[in-house]
């Protein structure tokens, strides 16, 4: 290995900050964490080597505060910043500021990021480069009049999408004309709140679509490779919840073709570092460029599991100016990998977020082929202010079947008490015959939710008995040697202050 950073700052929180800290520790790089008021006890702070406070709980006052982050970076002597995903990860203004101040931004330079961040500009560029794009508008919608006009041309159903978007935020499916205007307003408002940019454009809604993305790596010498695809069609509210690689929908020829197009996409904008090219694949196996994510993806671990390549370490090597240590032919994925995103949401109550204290946590880590990328610990209070992603559970198997069975096994060992999680929902998905056969598209969850959930009668009996025993023990009051400690006053106060400052 050539040159490497001595110290880097991680401008993020949660599981992805922990993920990057782990890579740094393994490379002998000092990781520096930053934290908001709400994150004083967060796992990424506990596992870092240095940590600095950067502001109040609302992201705009901390994790999105460019000035403060650059100031801390300079003060602690970090040579580079890893942005993780979300927050400033695709903020071209932030990249420019880093470039100006001589701090290495671990990701692409500001020009390709700006271009890819503006989804309509990206569409125009790709169209010009001969890459297939989804029919729709090439520019943001200016007003409601234009909205009606363009929508009429594209036809219903259609998608309204945030130009600055990603992660399902600011995205609305419009099935009929009557919902068009209200959906447009919601999309604009959510875009504004998530990305500080209310631009929205229209895309044709593809039938029975697959959402498949290709991971690429490009070094500073222009060498670009693809690392296989990820099938991301299991989505709820246009947000991915479960990903796998390889996609059960693709064959090897198409896999290679999409990989090569992904490399062309990166080349068309002079892309460097790790990136993901997202495609929509229709039921006729025709694929269209959707967007390029100019950052590490949440679901990057499944690619790591089948290739053995640590993508975060590659990002650091590329940013430090080292060449990729492998060529396209050296990348030989083996086996199958799945990822479940463990959100603090209640699947029995419309997937409402469920912040609060994790009273008890039995991590599912254990055994061959199980990976647990966590951002929380027992006793941790999941804050209200950020994404409800607690952890990612990833399994690997020689076959898809083995990876699925392993995931079910690991999920059955994953116990969380104190807050709600979507674990039971994953069990439904993974046990569903259509998922098991690999015959699914982005409508899968919507269809699943219409099906009656069946309950094992034995589990029902045991649940009644267990509840009966608890009820009995409560009535005897013989089971509470250590009464619940009330929240200390200052904590509630701090939380309320942080909250009111946000409003």
């Amino acid at each position: 290995m050539g040159k490497m950073f001595k110290k880097i700052l991680i401008a993020n929180r949660g599981e992805i900050a922990v993920r990057i800290i782990r890579a740094c520790r393994e490379m002998g790089i000092t990781p520096v964490a930053v934290y908001s008021d709400a994150d004083r006890k967060a796992l990424h702070v506990r596992l870092s080597e240095e940590a600095y406070h950067i502001g109040a709980a609302p992201p705009t006052e901390s994790y999105l505060n460019i000035d403060r982050i650059l100031q801390v970076t300079a003060a602690c002597g970090a040579e580079a910043i890893h942005p993780g995903y979300g927050f400033l990860a695709e903020n071209a203004e932030f990249v420019r500021r880093c470039e100006q101040e001589g701090i290495v931004f671990i990701g692409p330079s500001s020009e390709p990021m700006e271009l890819m961040g503006e989804k309509t500009a990206a569409r125009r560029t790709m169209h010009a480069a001969g890459i297939p794009i989804i029919p729709g508008t090439m520019d943001p919608i200016r007003d409601e009049a234009e909205l009606r006009l363009q929508a009429g041309e594209v036809g219903f159903p259609l998608l309204l999408k945030a130009s600055a978007g990603g992660g399902g935020k600011g995205l609305r499916l419009v099935k009929e004309e009557k919902d068009l205007v209200s959906a447009f307003r919601l999309a604009q408002s959510e875009s504004q709140s998530s990305f500080n940019d209310s631009s929205v454009y229209i895309e044709r809604y593809m039938e029975e679509p697959h959402h498949i993305e290709v991971q690429i790596l490009a070094d500073q010498e222009g060498r670009t490779v693809y690392l296989g695809e990820r099938e991301c069609s299991i989505q709820r509210r246009y947000q991915k919840v479960l990903e796998e690689t390889p996609s059960p929908f693709l064959d090897d020829a198409m896999r290679r073709e999409m990989g090569e197009v992904a490399v062309q996409v990166a080349a068309a904008v002079g892309y460097q570092n790790a990136g993901t090219v997202e495609f929509i694949v229709d039921k006729h196996k025709k694929f269209y460029f959707l967007e390029m994510n100019a950052r590490l993806q949440v679901e990057h671990p499944v690619t790591e599991m089948v290739t053995g390549i640590d993508l975060v370490k590659c990002q650091l090597e590329i940013a430090a100016g080292n060449p990729l240590p492998f060529a396209q032919d050296d990348i030989r994925p083996s086996g199958h990998s799945l990822e479940c995103r463990i959100y603090a949401e209640d699947p029995y109550n419309g997937f409402m977020p469920s912040p609060g204290r994790i009273e008890r946590l039995r991590a599912p880590a254990g055994g061959l082929g199980v990976r647990y990328d966590n951002g929380t610990y027992e006793g941790y209070e999941v804050p209200l202010e950020y994404d409800p992603l607690l952890s990612k559970l990833i399994t690997w198997g020689n076959t898809r079947e083995e990876a699925i069975h392993r995931m079910l096994r690991a999920l059955s060992e994953y116990q969380v008490y104190g807050i709600k999680t979507i674990i039971p929902f994953f069990q439904r998905i993974l046990r569903h015959p259509r998922f098991f056969e690999g015959v699914y598209n982005t409508h899968f969850i919507e269809e699943l939710e219409k099906e009656e959930e069946s309950l094992d009668p034995e589990e029902k009996t045991v649940a009644l008995i267990a509840a009966g025993i608890r009820n009995y023990k409560e009535s005897r009051q013989s089971l509470s040697p250590c009464p619940q400690k009330p929240r200390s006053g200052w904590k509630i106060k701090g939380r309320m202050e942080a909250f009111s400052r946000r409003i």
């Binding site: 589990e459 009996t461 267990a466 009820n471 409003i503």
Partner: protein, 163 residues
């Protein structure tokens, strides 16, 4: 001891008898279960029923228990006079909608006194970076809306009443 529990609106009558420290006998709907119990904490038990093992977490909610078995959550209701008169039951067509999560009211989409359809969005609540439309569970008239736009609400707060 006799206990009544509810599962999916069906009542189950249990009779519990603690035969020894780790041995409970449960009679339920005519069947008898001999159960060995190990206690890890007030909410975590290991049940052994004729050799079959169940590692469970039983957490109390208001009016119910959530029992976690094999990673699944199963809700069992407590039967009590309160339960029978509780907020969730439809009483003369009037229903209170409460929030199950803390968050901030981004927008209120209907006026007090307005008629709404079942499934129509009444307001938008933002929590954990997601905007959630809170819909009316039934057709009716919005009798009252609790919070104002921009206000933050805690779990369990009343959002609106339909009558």
């Amino acid at each position: 001891m006799n206990i009544s529990l509810l599962f999916a609106d069906t009542e189950f009558r249990l009779k519990l008898h603690e035969r020894a420290e780790n041995h409970i006998q449960v009679d339920m709907n005519g069947e008898t279960f001999d159960i060995r119990v190990e206690y890890f904490s007030p909410e975590e038990y290991l049940l052994n029923i004729k050799g079959k093992v169940y590692d469970v977490i039983v957490s109390p909610n208001s009016g119910s228990y959530a029992v976690c078995i094999n990673g699944k959550n199963i809700h069992v209701g407590k039967k009590s006079p309160l339960q029978l008169l509780g907020g969730k039951s439809v009483r003369s067509g009037r229903r209170e909608v409460k929030t199950s999560m803390p968050g901030r009211i981004i927008e209120i989409l209907v006026q007090e006194g307005e008629d709404v359809e079942e499934g129509q969005a009444v307001l938008i609540l933002e929590a954990m970076k997601m905007q959630n439309e809170i819909k009316s569970p039934q057709p009716g008239k919005i009798a009252c809306i609790g919070p104002k736009t921009g206000e933050s609400v805690e779990t369990g707060a009343l959002l609106f009443i339909i009558s």
